[in-house]
């Protein structure tokens, strides 16, 4: 009887081990799969040319990813520039200034935002942000803009990464010992001075990790950006120019990619590129966050 129970325990342990290994190994399988698929295009065109050429003519077998890489960078940079200061101020306000009651009302709304699907952000972008840019913002700066621009993509993305940054930064701020802040306040510093000189300094690694996570989230976001960005395969020169980020490129062309030689390989290379960058960013920020957590536990 006992041996049967032990046997059962061991068998289940093995099964669970296999499940665990398999689900983690997905990372490797995805990486290898995408790489193998991008080998044909890498053999034909050098990595340097792929990354720096601006000529995108799939029918002639010319694949230059530079405009798409720039599109991704523009959109991401705009999103971070908008979101980071707003989110830091919000996190400081939530953790340092608000009484518990108000906090209990504020935090759920940030969480609700994180539950909204990307396509809804996209619809909102088309209905609200794009007309806003076209009619009210762009006319002050440029002669004409349809509103479908990297700025629209950046704003929509910024709103999408609000909850991510706020939740991580709030968590990090909450771990800062109250004694430190009390000491600073007791010495006569104002609340803002305490935030700037104590909290901000202490929370720096956490803020960096949150930002890196937000960047990688912005890199990979597909549908919402695709809907508002204009999707024009040129390098954007101003925030009112349309852009064409990498994920949008993949999503828009999957239908025809099997009919043109090398096209599927080139698109899988784009996916591989995204995968590697995002993987790297995620590993870095997760390690920073795990370290912070461990330091706290000690």
């Amino acid at each position: 009887m006992t041996s049967l129970r032990l046997l059962k325990d061991k068998v289940y342990a093995k099964i669970m081990l296999i499940f665990t290994i398999l689900s983690v190994a997905v990372v490797l399988v995805i990486g290898i799969g995408l790489y193998l698929k991008s080998v044909p295009v890498l053999n034909k065109i050098s990595l340097y040319t792929l990354l720096t050429s601006s000529v995108w003519k799939p029918l002639k077998g010319l694949f230059g990813f530079f405009p798409f890489i720039m599109g991704t960078l523009w959109v991401t940079a705009i999103a971070i520039i908008i979101a980071l200061p707003l989110c830091l101020l919000t996190s400081f306000f939530i953790t340092e200034y608000t009484p518990n009651q108000l906090r209990k009302i504020l935090v759920p709304f940030v969480n609700l935002l994180s539950g909204i699907p990307p396509v809804i952000f996209g619809v909102w972008g088309v209905l609200f942000i794009v007309p806003l840019i076209q009619d009210h913002i762009a006319p002050h700066f440029v002669e004409f803009s349809t509103g479908y621009s990297v700025l629209a993509g950046g704003i929509v993305l910024a709103v999408m990464i609000f909850p991510l940054i706020v939740s991580i930064v709030c968590e990090v701020l909450n771990t800062i010992p109250k004694d430190l802040k009390d000491a600073s306040l007791a010495l006569g510093a104002t609340k803002w001075e305490t935030i700037r000189k104590v909290s901000l300094r202490k929370a720096k690694p956490g803020i960096i990790a949150a930002t890196v996570l937000a960047v990688s989230r912005a890199f990979g976001e597909t549908i919402a950006v695709l809907m508002v960005c204009g999707n024009n395969a040129d390098v954007p020169h101003s925030v009112f120019d349309p852009g064409y980020p990498l994920p949008a490129l993949i999503a828009n062309n999957y239908g025809e990619m099997l009919s043109i030689p090398m096209y599927d390989s080139a698109l899988m290379f784009a996916a591989f590129l995204l995968f590697i960058i995002i993987l790297l960013f995620n590993v870095i920020s997760r390690i920073i966050l795990a370290r912070l957590e461990r330091k706290l536990a000690l």
């Binding site: 935002l113 909204i116 990307p118 909102w124």
Partner: protein, 282 residues
């Protein structure tokens, strides 16, 4: 002194404004969707599949996409649970003292969580081409399962960690095997499992990029795993791209349907989570 006070007040105002903007963006989004979606909302939208000429503004609804989305999200969540419950148990109960290994695995799942759905979609498409499977309900479910496994594992893991260690120790010391202990723990975390299910379902039903390549699109409700299935987010995306005003309006109405579904799920899961944490503090 006055300068410092001014600075304090200035930044406090800035913080209040930022907080209003960040928390208010939720209302702005839902408000926009409501305002534009409600005029186009009809009973037909949720009770009928697209009729002939639906895409030029004739009658019909998006029942095909609603059902398709429920199938994909439901299938993926069920499949994901079968994989992630054992994984979460393994991480917490079978690794014994090897905490570094458990933490390493946690980081690995966090990283998996960060991989964008377009990569899962592209990878799913790759596999389907390799095995010669066409875009179908099954393909969509598999791709979305990959997407939700990290969410399920990490949520379940957090929940299992809230179970008092004494409970497991007591069970073990009575001579139970680890597997028997795991069964006791699972019974303890039932509400937490529901939270995980809802979170995963909410993410699965709203995602486009993973089903774009894999599930295909169809005007009919799929009757087998090998038929292509429409999904609600994809329906919104396609309809919005139409030049016909009536069809665009339907995109707003479909967006409203999706928003309502997702909000119900999110609110339910946060209520459950709250109740669960209350149970625990006792």
């Amino acid at each position: 002194m006055i300068r410092r006070k001014l600075e304090e007040n200035f930044f406090r105002t800035l913080m209040i404004l930022a907080t209003i903007l960040v928390t208010g963006s939720f209302f702005l989004i839902v408000g926009t969707i409501l305002y534009r979606g409600v005029p186009f909302m009809t009973w037909d939208m949720i009770s009928k599949i697209p009729g002939g000429g639906f895409y030029i503004g004739k009658e019909g609804g998006v029942l095909n996409a609603i059902i398709g989305s429920l199938y994909v999200a439901g299938g993926a969540t069920v499949l994901g649970l079968f994989i992630s419950i054992p994984v979460a148990i393994y991480i917490n109960m079978y690794l014994g003292g090897r905490i570094w290994l458990a933490n390493g695995l946690r980081i690995a799942f966090d990283v998996l969580f960060g991989i964008p759905s377009i990569v899962y979609g592209a990878f799913g498409f790759l596999i389907m081409v390799y095995f010669g499977i066409r875009a179908s309900l099954l393909g969509g479910i598999v791709a979305v399962t990959l997407l939700v496994i990290p969410i399920l594992v990490r949520t379940l893991d957090e929940v299992i960690r809230t179970v008092p260690k004494e409970l497991g120790d007591a069970t073990l010391s009575l001579g139970a095997t680890r597997w028997e202990t795991a069964k006791v723990v699972i019974r303890q975390i039932r509400p937490g499992v529901f939270t995980a299910i809802l979170l995963s379902f909410g993410r699965a039903i709203g995602d486009v990029a993973s089903v774009l390549f894999t599930a295909g699109f169809s005007d009919n409700i799929p009757t087998s795993l090998h038929q292509p299935a429409a999904t609600l987010p994809l329906a919104i995306f396609f309809q919005l791209g139409s030049p016909v005003a009536e069809v665009q309006g339907r995109a707003y109405a479909s967006a409203l349907i999706l928003t309502i579904i997702v909000l119900i799920i999110t609110i339910l899961s946060s209520i459950l989570a709250k109740r669960f944490s209350k149970n625990n503090s006792r």
